[in-house]
């Protein structure tokens, strides 16, 4: 009886919190893994699968140093506050709908956009690149090596003065 009271409270609180959140989860839908999305199952409305190209660290450095590219960090805000690639903007892939409005002004459609996340095993950078593509950005690349490869090759990491 007591356990069912706790469970009932949890269901009510969970559903209410989810309902009022800015990006609620579709509780009654099946979970769609992002791996499936990256295999092209999330085609655009015109039937074209979203394909995102990858970029290596040397090309990334060249594009960023020449001012032709903008780096976007796809990890969570907490991860970003612990350190990021110099000049990168934070846009967590899983909070895209909420954060995109805040950073939209910083994104220049003329520039190349390069997304990255923790390492080659994470998928947030690919997910973010697809979301940006759907939002109208064309020139997007994914830096698969991510922060791990970047730091392993002794490149500098920026740490914000104030954690977000």
């Amino acid at each position: 009886m007591q356990a069912s009271i706790i469970l009932a409270m949890s269901i009510i609180a969970g559903v209410a919190y989810n309902g009022f959140s800015e990006s609620p989860l579709p509780i009654f839908k099946k979970y769609v893994p992002v791996e499936a999305e990256s295999r092209g199952e999330d085609d655009l409305s015109d039937g074209q699968p979203v394909h995102v190209s990858e970029i290596d660290i040397d090309t990334l450095k060249y594009l960023v140093e020449s001012g032709e590219a903008l780096l976007i960090d796809a990890r969570t805000g907490d991860d970003f506050s612990r350190g990021y690639l110099p000049g990168a903007v934070s846009l967590p892939a899983y909070e895209f709908d909420r954060v995109f409005k805040e950073v939209e002004g910083l994104l220049d459609e003329e520039k190349t956009i390069i997304t990255y996340c923790s390492s080659v095993t994470c998928i947030d950078s690919t997910l973010l690149a697809k979301k940006l593509y759907r939002s109208g950005f064309q020139n997007i690349f994914v830096y698969r090596g991510g922060l791990k490869e970047w730091t392993e090759l002794d490149n500098p990491v920026e740490i914000p003065h104030e954690s977000k």
Binding site: Y17, P26, F28, Y31, V34, T76, C117
Partner: protein, 151 residues
């Protein structure tokens, strides 16, 4: 000797400490998952133990079970039931971690944080959960039920 141990474990300070440690940890663990439900859904999916249709409901509902049960335990309401629920959750976590350790799956624990830094040594995580079972079991076995005096 046995009586002394029973008396010690059943004493108010020890029981309060157990409730505070176990309940407090579960409250703490629930906050990041409540704030980042989508990231927690991804972690649940990566355990590869749950059917796809249950991933979102679990991500929405489970952190609140942890939160409320933790609050009830710390506040001293439904103490035995709350301790039993948290111990069952710990046993399920130990089971899930052990199963994936045996399968050799690389996954994020999602125990206290939904960030990628939540990855840890699975053996260490199992050991930690077993340690956390101790305060739960102490409460279950040594917390006396309130005896209402008959008039």
């Amino acid at each position: 000797m046995k009586d002394k141990i029973v008396k010690f474990l059943g004493s108010t300070p020890i029981l309060f400490l157990c409730r505070f440690i176990l309940g407090g940890l579960f409250i703490y663990a629930s906050i990041d998952k409540i704030v980042h439900p989508a990231a927690f859904a991804k972690i649940i999916y990566n355990y590869r133990l749950f059917p796809d249709f249950s991933v979102y409901p679990l991500a929405v509902f489970l952190p609140w079970v942890e939160m409320f049960t933790g609050i009830f335990l710390v506040a001293g309401i439904f103490k035995k039931n709350a301790a039993t629920m948290l111990s069952i959750l710990l046993i399920l976590f130990i089971g899930a971690l052990s199963f994936n350790l045996i399968r050799g799956l690389d996954f994020n624990c999602g125990c206290f944080t939904t960030a990628a830094t939540g990855k840890g040594d699975p053996l260490g995580l199992i050991f930690r959960d077993i340690l956390l079972l101790i305060p739960g079991l102490v409460i279950i076995f040594f917390q006396k039920k309130k005896i209402h005096a008959r008039q």
